[in-house]
């Protein structure tokens, strides 16, 4: 703050601000449109500031036409369960692969790398058929199950655990911990930066995911936020973009707030040192 503004700094700051503006433009446009009346949106002049403030009306309209609390709840449940299961599976798995010697660990490593290469789109059809056969479409299970094992998480944690000193694990064993105890009491608390980083990736990806919910969910009771918006746009809103943008604003807000809060912890976590003796 006390730095003086010289030319180089001004150039740098303007470039950065311009870049930020480009990335933020759609979001800003959404915020603006959410506060405009129908006539205002279709007016020939393009202005970011609404002529009349229509936020309350648009939000009310959106709330009355879409069951937004259900959408948000579904989003929280689906993302939460996915994240918890992913961490519960990936942490012990990555620990075993990073720190224990067992037969087949190289083969497992190859499988993880292979898993990283296969996108969900390739397996979507067989998975859909499987869920259909089990009559499990339109359920939380169908939304969660395909993502319960994240090879990306295993890979991320594996890299992180390799850097943890072996002596720490030896000390834990000598203090009387079982292998699960080591994972729960020593590995997980020290892996917090990696878990936070992964949580951001995972929650953002699954909160915003439209592809998979669109395949397995046709009932709005289980719709995740993006799918709910799609139903809303297709069936009810028609060309009422003000209400649509207001609904979008509501469903993106939790993620933005969560990220802003987690970001601080995330940076703190990365700055946490002192793992070495």
């Amino acid at each position: 703050m006390t730095q003086t503004l010289n030319l180089g700094r001004i150039v740098r700051l303007s470039l950065l601000s311009f870049g930020a503006l480009v990335f933020l433009a759609p979001y800003i446009f959404m915020i603006s449109a959410a506060g405009k009346a129908q006539a205002d949106i279709f007016a020939s002049s393009l202005s970011l500031v609404p002529q009349q403030w229509y936020y309350v009306e648009n939000i009310q309209k959106a709330m009355s036409r879409v069951d937004i609390p259900t959408l948000l709840w579904n989003g929280v449940v689906v993302c939460g369960i996915i994240l918890i299961i992913q961490v519960m599976v990936a942490v012990p798995c990555a620990y075993a692969m990073a720190k224990l010697q067992f037969r087949g660990s190289r083969f497992m490593m190859a499988l993880v790398m292979l898993g990283l290469l296969v996108p969900i789109h390739a397996t979507a059809l067989p998975l859909y058929v499987a869920f259909d056969t089990l009559s499990m479409l339109n359920s939380y299970a169908a939304l969660v199950a395909p993502f319960s094992i994240s090879v990306f998480a295993i890979f991320l944690f594996l890299q992180f655990f390799r850097a943890l000193p072996d002596d720490l694990i030896h000390a834990a064993r000598l203090d009387g911990m079982s292998e699960l105890g080591v994972v729960a009491r020593v590995i997980l608390p020290n892996a917090w930066p990696a878990v936070t980083a992964f949580a951001i990736f995972s929650v953002v990806a699954h909160w915003n995911d439209l592809f998979w919910p669109l395949i397995v969910v046709t009932n709005s009771d289980y719709a995740t936020p993006p799918l709910g918006l799609l139903f809303f746009r297709a069936a009810e809103a028609g060309d009422d973009y003000g209400a649509l943008m207001a609904a979008t604003l509501i469903i993106t807000l939790p993620l933005v707030l969560a990220f802003l809060m987690a970001q601080k912890r995330f940076v703190e976590g990365i700055a946490m040192t002192g793992l070495k003796g």
């Binding site: 030896h170 000390a171 064993r173 000598l174 203090d175 009387g176 009491r185 002192g274 003796g277």
Partner: protein
């Protein structure tokens, strides 16, 4: 009692431990010393249960534990890196081994565990003992700090406290002082010995620093190349090494070792003495050994003549490096500063070796030979028949 018997361990075709045996009496402090790569740390890890031996037997408190995992053996270890849990405070670190052993699985659960029957009493008892341990190691003011906020010496104390807070069957220490600065190290030596005496638990202490081993241990085990060469009191190890490698490794400055050959009568002349090797054995190469403090300056014309190569002033003593005439070997002599005052590099000196302290080793196997030392005939003085 604690014992490691005939421990064999190899990685692939690389034999790390070749039938090593160490037995400790109750309350004994044994230092395992050897150059790096001699297998001493591997032996310690096998004792801890962090590694498994190919064959051999491990007894802790008189009970065989060979197949047991580390968490089921009642051992405590101090690591070279200290291995403190970075996410816990010093006090919590010290409490971990107590909590793991004294609270049941249900009582250890977060939040719920606090309401399990009996948990509160055990927890407050643990807190009490952690505090006592902190006071006795003078770290009670640090118990709320995390390892990242402590200095190396403070971390070392916390690691020591974590190992000593319960009564294990054996303490294992893997070079716990090697990350401290020199002053602190000497101070910490005395403290560890005191703590060990108070606790009375057998201790196996691994170090590559021979002065640490000699000064701290009741008995010193010298390991070289995966073999236990000698296990005895520090004094015996120093004065009466049974193997040339032990003699070479122990002692600062190093022992003087001279290669030589026995003549037909199985004797070797050195200075004014003759050493007679035992009759048995066909090998005729031997190694003569004598420590630097048993070499004295002799009158001109007497003893071995040599040329001063270098002098090192160490305050209370002077180390003299002298090249023997005729042999070309350099020997090391430890002198009092008063004796060496007149010496300068390049000067000629005459040296005599105390005959009672010359040792003879087999040139091939390195084993100590029982030699008879006799005064040589006068005309043979000052020669060494090589």
């Amino acid at each position: 009692m604690f014992a490691l018997r005939n421990i064999v361990k190899s990685f692939g075709s690389n034999a790390i431990l070749q039938s090593v045996t160490v037995e400790a009496e109750a309350g004994e402090f044994i230092a395992l010393v050897g150059p790096s790569g001699c297998g001493k740390s591997t032996l310690l890890r096998i004792a801890a249960g962090l590694d498994h031996c190919d064959s051999g037997e491990i007894l802790l408190a008189g009970k065989p534990v060979t197949g047991l995992s580390a968490s089921d053996r009642n051992v405590a270890m101090v690591f070279q890196s200290y291995a403190l849990y970075p996410h816990l405070t010093a006090g919590q670190n010290i409490a971990v081994p107590l909590a793991m052993r004294e609270l049941s699985t249900a009582q250890r659960l977060p939040i719920i565990g606090r309401f399990m029957g009996g948990s509160a009493a055990i927890r407050s008892n643990i807190q009490e003992r952690v505090k006592d341990m902190g006071v006795s190691l003078k770290i009670d003011h640090l118990l709320d700090r995390k390892p990242g906020q402590m200095s190396g010496g403070q971390r070392q104390r916390v690691a020591l406290a974590r190992a000593m807070v319960r009564r294990p069957a054996v303490f294992l220490m893997d070079e716990p002082l090697s990350n401290l600065d020199a002053n602190l190290r000497v101070h910490a030596r005395g403290e560890i010995v005191d703590l060990h005496r108070k606790a009375g638990v057998p201790t196996l202490y691994v170090t590559h620093d021979q002065s640490e081993a000699l000064s701290m241990a009741d008995r010193v085990a010298v390991m070289i190349g995966g073999k236990m060469l000698q296990l005895d009191t520090p004094q015996t190890i120093y004065e009466n090494p049974t193997h040339v490698e032990v003699a070479r490794f122990i002692g600062q400055p190093r022992i003087n070792l001279l290669e030589s050959r026995l003549n037909a009568n199985r004797l070797v002349r050195f200075g004014s003495v003759e050493l007679v090797a035992p009759a048995a054995g066909e090998n005729d190469t031997v190694t003569l050994g004598f420590r630097p403090e048993f070499v004295r300056l002799a009158a001109p014309g007497a003893g071995l003549s040599a040329q001063v190569e270098r002098l090192e002033f160490l305050g209370s003593e002077i180390i003299l490096f002298a090249r023997l005439h005729g042999m070309g070997e350099t020997i090391v002599v430890k002198l009092a500063p008063a004796e060496a005052r007149t010496l300068t590099a390049g000067a000629s000196v005459n040296l005599s070796v105390d005959p009672a302290h010359i040792m003879l080793f087999d040139g091939k196997t390195g084993a100590r030979l029982k030699a008879d030392v006799v005064e040589a005939p006068a005309h043979m003085k000052a020669t060494l028949h090589g």
